[in-house]
């Protein structure tokens, strides 16, 4: 019994729900150490503690107050904060530009000139936020279609939500094969699958070897240790085996590393001919600069878009990025009518060139417009059918390098193709120059392969 009493004296009052004589004494002590707050300050504290839930409640009420308009609502779930924020912002800008043009040209005529209305939601690059936002956009905002989510890891579960509700989901950018391989009926992807990217990277390499009579034997794979990087690396290994290459380095690295010189040292010592990279923006910059610092001699560096295609990449690396090869969906010099104008307009508005991902988002809006015109209805099933029957080959949106947007039975855009660019200076400063397929090559430019000694 004595032990119990002693312990009771030691334990504070807040474990017990009710009042008791011992708790009052403790309560006063607490007041004393807090600097003796007087009774007059109680109301202030009460006010303060209720401020947050009151704010939350009013926001709840406010959400019911938003009215419904006669527009077509397009929900967009993209990373507006977090590590992919720069890319999310580009996607937003591209969509806004497209929708502005579409609305100015009269909107959706078969729906009586209905305008397109964009609703954006921040995924923070987190799957659970993407899922929550999808639920909200479908159920509260009552969007008619969804687009998103840039990060493949966010796109998987989010498309599952759309599938459950039967809402069509257009994926402009996420490349992971799995997205269209899940058997979902409502998912339509514009970008090429990542197995196509890797396939094209190797075709390009073979073509370069032939064109310039240079043999390539030793390959080094260096890739970010995430979903994207590991996916590519797996396919590279298979393709290397088929192509008869020797893989001298297989090095995943953490994208958030603060120092990549150990990785660069490994590349240097592996005596590879060609280095293949999958990187996000910060590490792409770091790797490129470090490779230049260590004067690593390679015949070629082939990157995989993403970080290397980020607008800040060239500004941050400058001459170190010269002769780099990068594979992307689209480049500013693609030989298509309207491409240059669209890029100039975007650049004037937002200060940067369009990237492949931004163009995908832009095209996605026009694909949606085309589908809506044919569906002539806001019924999700009709929109879905219209999307499935898409065969879009002309119009202001078609600034992509390939001929038409056509979805196969899994929802994959079967014509999506890629181009290879090389970073070089044609007299106007460093820029990205389309070089492959040969038919798409910019006039007057011969690629440089292998890389000369700098």
């Amino acid at each position: 019994m004595k032990k119990g009493e002693a312990l009771q004296a030691l334990s504070p009052n807040f474990l017990r729900a009710g009042n008791s004589s011992s708790s009052k004494a403790n309560g006063e002590c607490i007041l004393a150490t807090q600097g003796g707050k007087t009774k007059r300050e109680e109301p202030m504290r009460i006010l303060r503690t209720f401020a947050v839930p009151a704010l939350a409640m009013s926001m709840l009420a406010g959400s019911y107050a938003t009215g419904h308009a006669e527009n077509v609502k397009i929900g967009n779930i993209i990373p507006l904060s977090g590590p992919s924020a720069t890319l999310g912002q580009q996607g937003k800008a591209a969509r806004e530009m497209a929708v502005e043009e579409i609305n100015a040209a009269g909107g959706i005529k078969s729906l009586g000139g209905a305008k397109l209305e964009l609703v954006f939601a921040d995924s923070e690059s987190k799957p659970e936020k993407g899922v929550a936002e999808a639920e909200r956009l479908i159920n509260t905002e009552k969007v008619n279609v969804l687009t998103g989510c840039w990060n493949s890891a966010v796109t998987y579960p989010t498309t599952a939500v759309a599938e459950r509700y039967g809402i069509p989901f257009v994926v402009p950018v996420s490349v992971s094969d799995k997205i269209t391989d899940q058997g979902f009926k409502t998912v339509f992807r514009i970008a090429a699958k990542d197995s196509w990217w890797t396939r094209d990277q190797f075709s390009f390499l073979k073509d370069m070897e032939k064109e310039f009579g240079t043999k390539v034997e030793r390959l080094a794979f260096v890739y970010e240790n995430g979903d994207w990087g590991k996916g590519f690396a797996g396919q590279w290994k298979e393709l290397a085996e088929k192509g008869g290459y020797k893989v001298v380095l297989d090095e995943p690295y953490p994208s958030t590393a603060t120092d990549l010189s150990p990785v660069v040292q490994k590349i240097r010592r592996s005596k590879a001919d060609v280095l293949m990279l999958v990187s996000n923006a910060a590490d792409a910059i770091l790797l490129t600069n470090t490779l230049a610092e260590y004067k690593v001699k390679l015949k070629a560096i082939i990157a995989s878009g993403g970080g290397h295609a980020d607008p800040s990449f060239l500004t941050a690396t400058g001459k170190n990025a010269q002769y780099l090869f990068d594979i992307v969906e689209w480049e500013t010099d693609v030989n298509k009518p309207g491409a240059k104008e669209a890029n100039d307009k975007y650049k004037a508005k937002y200060g940067q060139n369009l990237t492949g991902e931004a163009v995908d988002a832009y095209v996605a809006m026009y694909v949606l417009k085309d589908a809506l015109e044919r569906a002539a209805s806001l019924d999700p099933e009709k929109i879905r059918e219209a999307l499935a029957a898409t065969d879009l080959s002309s119009g202001p949106g078609m600034i992509v390098g390939y001929d038409s947007v056509k979805f196969d039975t899994t929802g994959q855009n079967e014509n999506a193709s890629l181009v290879m660019v090389q970073v070089n200076d044609m007299g106007k400063g460093l820029e990205r120059i389309t070089i492959w397929p040969k038919a798409a090559r910019r006039a007057g430019y011969t690629p440089v392969f292998p890389m000369p000694e700098k």
Partner: protein, 295 residues
């Protein structure tokens, strides 16, 4: 054979810079007995300060220390004075106010995201600074010049801080307070002013570290997070409150990161660093150079 030496040198250089970034953390922990979770964010603020100073005025990056270090000192001083001190006053009798961890986390969230709002998420780098990409070539080995500068700065700063704590009155007052709060205040030392100064010094050291990083590292709103966790690990490895320990801890981490990848992929060195951290915590929690504390 060359390889290991070259890697080891890089590890030592990079490691001493890591140590420099962690020095502020160990000072604050040693004196105030709290873990400053906003440490990474302070580094980030220092980096933005350094970046803008150099970009707007075109001076040599290291000269920016003249502006950045005092600015960071004031930043740290007032941050402690206004935001954190009230907690110390309220929890006078608690030896280690854990609520400070929470407040500093709040500061971390706020700083990182206000920076995101103001400056946007872009990666900035000092494009044309005299140190960029400079390498020293000794035979087959490459040594990065900016990292060399960083290492020298780290050692000089460490010596400077050590001298400050050993030889100046203020420094001795700070050490006294960190060893025994009550006794120090009995001697007439104003405990809270000491905390402010110590925090300021911690912030200033972090500012110097930021200047060392900017010539070869990108600046963006969440850059601090990468160095934050590493900082904690270094500080525990070296011993909380020990300046030399911070340098030593940093160098150990640098060596693991640079030499490790020769034997495994870079991604596993991360796991090894955590493993080592836990080992030290269990076997010798006071770290390599720390004193045994009664708390």
């Amino acid at each position: 054979m060359y390889f290991i030496i070259e890697d080891a040198i890089n590890g030592i250089l990079m490691g001493s810079i890591y140590g420099l970034t962690a020095m502020g953390l160990t000072i604050i922990f040693g004196v105030l007995k709290v873990v400053n979770f906003a440490h990474g964010s302070m580094l980030m603020v220092g980096m933005y300060l350094a970046y803008w100073t150099v970009t707007l005025s075109g001076i040599h990056p290291y000269l920016a220390i003249v502006l950045v270090a005092p600015a960071m000192f004031l930043f740290g001083y007032y941050l402690q004075n206004i935001v954190i001190k009230p907690i110390f006053i309220a929890e006078k009798n608690v030896r280690e106010p854990l609520t400070v961890i929470i407040v500093t986390t709040g500061i971390w969230y706020i700083l990182d995201n206000i920076t995101l709002l103001i400056f946007g998420p872009q990666y900035r780098g000092l494009a044309d600074n005299p140190l960029r990409g400079q390498m020293l070539e000794l035979g087959e080995m490459f040594i990065s010049v900016p990292k060399l500068y960083g290492c020298v700065t780290a050692i000089v700063t460490a010596l400077g801080v050590y001298w400050f704590f050993q030889k100046t009155d203020m420094g001795r007052a700070i050490r006294a307070t960190s060893m025994d709060r009550e006794a120090a205040s009995l001697m007439g030392i104003n405990q809270y002013k000491i905390y402010n100064v110590a925090f300021g010094i911690g912030a200033a050291t972090t500012g110097i570290a930021a200047v060392t990083l900017v010539p070869f590292y990108n600046v963006f709103p969440t850059v601090g997070v990468l160095f934050d966790i590493k900082g904690f690990i270094i500080v525990v490895l070296g011993g909380l409150g020990s300046i030399g320990g911070a340098l030593a801890g940093g160098i150990i981490i640098g060596l693991i990161e640079s030499v490790g990848p020769q034997f495994m992929t870079a991604t596993w060195t991360e796991a090894i660093v955590y493993g080592l951290f836990l080992l030290v915590l269990f076997v010798k929690p006071s770290g390599l150079f720390g004193q045994k504390h009664d708390w």
